[in-house]
Symmetry: D2
Subunit: 349 residues, 4 copies
């Protein structure tokens, strides 16, 4: 593997954190009930409830992010309601119409660095209500945020509190997509803890797939009876894992001895080191993204040269330039970080 | 674990076959593309194409059975078409309305030992066409079978050929749910090979979850371009695994050195031994089921007594009796089979 | 028109009752608000509320029966719920999958003369609840009846009371399709009045299309706030009439001076006269149907001969026989009834 | 009625053009088949085919605009496809999510005077294709235009030809919403005839509801076999009229002796007279709209004063101003136009 090309293309290039695989091995021959009714899943739930300070939280382990989004959003909205999101939100841009397949419109607001504001939401709902014909218009029923966002940016606690207030005053549900939540939690700039999330939102998911698991997203409803019969809804959406234990064991491991946070920290350390070098070498970051995703504006020539030595992720084409994404993860080795930095040093302008 | 209660409750009580976990360990730190575009998945596809003698087959790895059924059926039907199935078919009885969520009616025919016949299908489509008002009626667009069925019974090659003929003459697609296909393939009574399946049907899936994998079902379209843009359809249904490799590695392992068949054989051997004992002790089988599921009619007293010593699966209540299912799997230990037989010996009437 | 072939093929062969057309003429140039917010619609609602003794009823005028069924059922069910109906129910047999298009399974029970019983419903819901895996099964959420049924038969008040009790004890909604309600209300055997209906069910519709209107069905929710935002749901289902007044004026006319009942009476009188002659001539009725639809078992030869002289509606083929439907309506002329009877006299065996 | 308040609030304030009501009266007692299979509907279809120079066109009469849009779009798109429209398009803004209820995303492009351009569409589809991850993105499958637009503006023939070329080169269907088509056809600025429409698009509908009918929209597929089984799709969407003749008779009347064009001309004449006066009195039109809808920017004071004397339609609030819509129709009396003009004269600044 020493000759493998360097890759910072994404944060889900490898299998799973070794402790997860070890735990799957250890427990492999234990017999258990299916569909998440096993002791491993219940143990994982208890750990998540504890760390969220949400003793009554209802928690379900789903397989993937698009699936979690589509299932939760469909479960929480009335048929005639839509979900407010940043135009760059994953549900609006990269889920192949999964939200619409379930009958709901994504009500896209222009993003600011991947985020939307409490004021945008308040203005939108106010304008909906003021419209004399609003019965002919899709009713906003929920706000969807991602933390960190698709651009690696973060909602601050005060921003989230403001959004939560607007939502609850206006009767909108608030839902947070935490596909990369470990990387938000590990970020020094972050001030939104799991228990703040649980306090402020109606539903969120703790991402496993992009944070060290083979797969899996833990959907958390902090309140009681948020969605009656969510189990059947999950089944109906084809999202119920027969061997639910496989997800349960993974989340139980992620929330044992702080592994989920350790995973975030490793990625953060690698990303910080890369950002430091990028700045030192005069590269231009296209957005202030403090988490494990870094967006760099390269010249076309630089991008072409880099491509020979390292896999990055293409983001956007601009006149004469190209924006590429560098992603780190729990699996990023510091020796590879240093190798990347040497490549970057060689190609600086 | 020696004190663990005996259980023959289902064929997905444990994790995965050890060779799958080993392979996940070995490959864990290899970097690969996501969404099934990795080399492991491609290797698995090649092996499946070879064993099916279907060199142009398009193969997608989905996560679970309900998901595979809902996605494939929705992808292959026009909006105004329904899917013909036995009333006991999984899609009609145990998928919480997943087929209907996607807009399609299940056109249920009365089962005979879990199966439907070519004649039933021909009669149904003929009667649909003869109906002067058939434009107001759901058009049959597909036939859904399961092999083995939910009752552990098998379609013979001649039955499947007859159904295939009827379908293709009538313009219906034919789709086979192979959630437990390993157990059909291993059964001495079976004469439908993978390559016969590939020859006779438009789509089928090779079950992983109930046949030794952590999860995963390999959807096979034997023909070319059966469903344009199936990848996007999978994504839209929330069924696309980000780390597609995890499914790919599992199926690559299942189809290396005949593991999938070995898994079936182990379950078959255990089931045959149990059936032999049941017959010897005078127990009544409620259906002739030659695969890894055995349905036994116990008296209420027997059932109550057995329940203290072994976990079986409740199937149906009858006056004074109860039908229980005994299931074996790749993970069934012969020592547990003998222990079960001792229990059965003790409680015979 | 005197040479027009006799036709008893259906009860919607003509335009509308003349008083409806007159009223449309009279009001034609009055300007009014759209979408049912006009004074005509409000007047119609008041009349319906009064006759139903349901002063708080919410009433919406939709265009057709399939549309009304699909919209009301979708509005009242959770996504994971299905609707219990007779297998012969219109929603199960002749709506081209409209209920499934909206995501809901029709849970079909075997009909007895087009009807289902309180006991069948109780048994079904009990068996659903007793099933240990019922979370994987479509939950019954509503019962759908039609009054009169597709076979022209009637639920008696005591039958409806029993069904209503079972539904409300089990948390199921009760909904009645009244496509031909005028013909039930006019039938001497009927003891279910509009106010009994309103007392016993959660929603029903008063049929216009088959009872003298150009089109239109009045959906009645007797209780308060049964379905929040039903207006938007109607719009989203494409069922909101821009010129809502056209439906409103029709129902206002139907419920002025007892026209709706007069319409039923005319059809009843014609049907009774035909039934009397059929019996006198020794024809066999295939079902006891006391309303405006009569189902007669003719020999093939009789059917062929009759076809030359009168249009009836084909119902079902039996060995050597054919069942045909004779339907009367508000528009049936007694002279045509006598002409039909003369034809029947000539072809008796 | 002489004391009725002046109203120019919309173009569907009255019943129907008198010739339609007369024809309904004349034909009322003729018996006919249901569901559009009657001779009146066939006659209307022949007239529309002739005027469109589309002898093989398939034509269906639906009830309303939202219903026609939702049904046609769902019928013509694959599940994973979305429909490109101006952000101001009716399907994006005022159909309560009907398109999404059927599973499709509206891909909104920024409008220019209510319209989108061939270049915008070409850029969008090109960018979709260039996206390496486009399999995760909703595929554009159709372009939706309205003629005239929601702002009363018109696509010119050359604009429509350019859009048609882009669509057909890119494999997109082209669909035109003609809710107010009569008012486009009557406009001196218009150069898109019915036969040009039929030549350039895959489907369009000729609006009845807003152009003199009680209700009804004629969906035209100029080509052969554009959508197999569209009849069943209409039924499944709850959009099939039992007494299809009522729509058929209306369209037959609209296309007899040029009534549809006469209706457009009357509205155009009234609108032109009002525009002339507005300009003369120095009012500011907020958009150049040459058809039967006029958008005027009033000061708040003007708007408040006008409201006492005439009903207009509120469009949009701006700082210190309000934009109101004045709509004319086939039913607009020239004496009311003159009365409106006198009111406008009095309140000019």
């Amino acid at each position: 593997m020493s000759t493998e090309k360097l890759s910072f293309a994404s944060d889900y290039l490898e299998g799973a954190h070794p402790r997860i695989l070890e735990r799957l091995m250890e427990t492999n021959m234990v017999k258990s009930a299916g569909y998440g009714l096993d002791a491993f899943s219940e143990s994982a739930r208890e750990k998540i409830r504890a760390i969220c300070h949400a003793p009554e939280a209802e928690i379900h382990f789903l397989v993937g992010g698009t699936q979690a989004n589509a299932t939760v959003i469909d479960a929480m909205l009335a048929s005639y309601q839509g979900v407010v999101a940043a135009d760059t939100g994953h549900i609006n841009s990269h889920e192949a119409g999964a939200i619409e397949l379930n009958g709901h419109k994504v009500l896209a607001l222009p993003n600011i660095n991947g985020k939307i504001t409490a004021k945008q939401i308040a203005d939108y709902t106010e304008s909906y209500r003021a419209d004399a014909n609003h019965d002919h218009v899709v009713m906003p029923g929920m706000v969807y945020l991602s933390q960190p966002t698709e651009f690696g940016t973060l909602y601050s606690l005060s921003e989230l509190e403001a959004i939560s207030s607007v939502c609850h005053e206006s009767g909108l549900k608030l839902y947070v997509d935490g596909a990369r939540l470990a990387y938000a939690l590990a970020c020094p700039e972050n001030d939104v803890t799991l228990s703040e999330l649980a306090r402020l939102v109606d539903a969120f998911y703790i991402g496993g797939t992009k944070c060290g698991a083979l797969f899996g997203e833990a959907v958390v409803f902090p309140g009681k009876e948020t969605v009656p019969h969510f189990f059947s809804i999950v089944k109906q959406h084809g999202a119920l894992l027969a061997k639910g234990r496989i997800a349960g064991i993974q989340f139980d491991t992620l929330f044992t001895d702080g592994l989920y946070f350790e995973i975030g920290n490793q990625a953060q350390k690698a990303a910080d080191r890369i950002r430091e070098a990028l700045t030192a070498y005069g590269y231009e970051l296209s957005i202030h993204s403090p988490t494990n995703q870094i967006f760099v504006r390269f010249t076309d020539a630089q991008a072409a040269a880099l491509e020979q030595e390292v896999d990055l992720s293409f983001w956007e084409k601009e006149e004469g330039h190209v924006i590429m994404r560098i992603a780190t993860s729990w699996a990023t080795r510091m020796e590879d970080v240093e190798a990347l930095i040497r490549v970057l040093a060689r190609h600086r302008t």
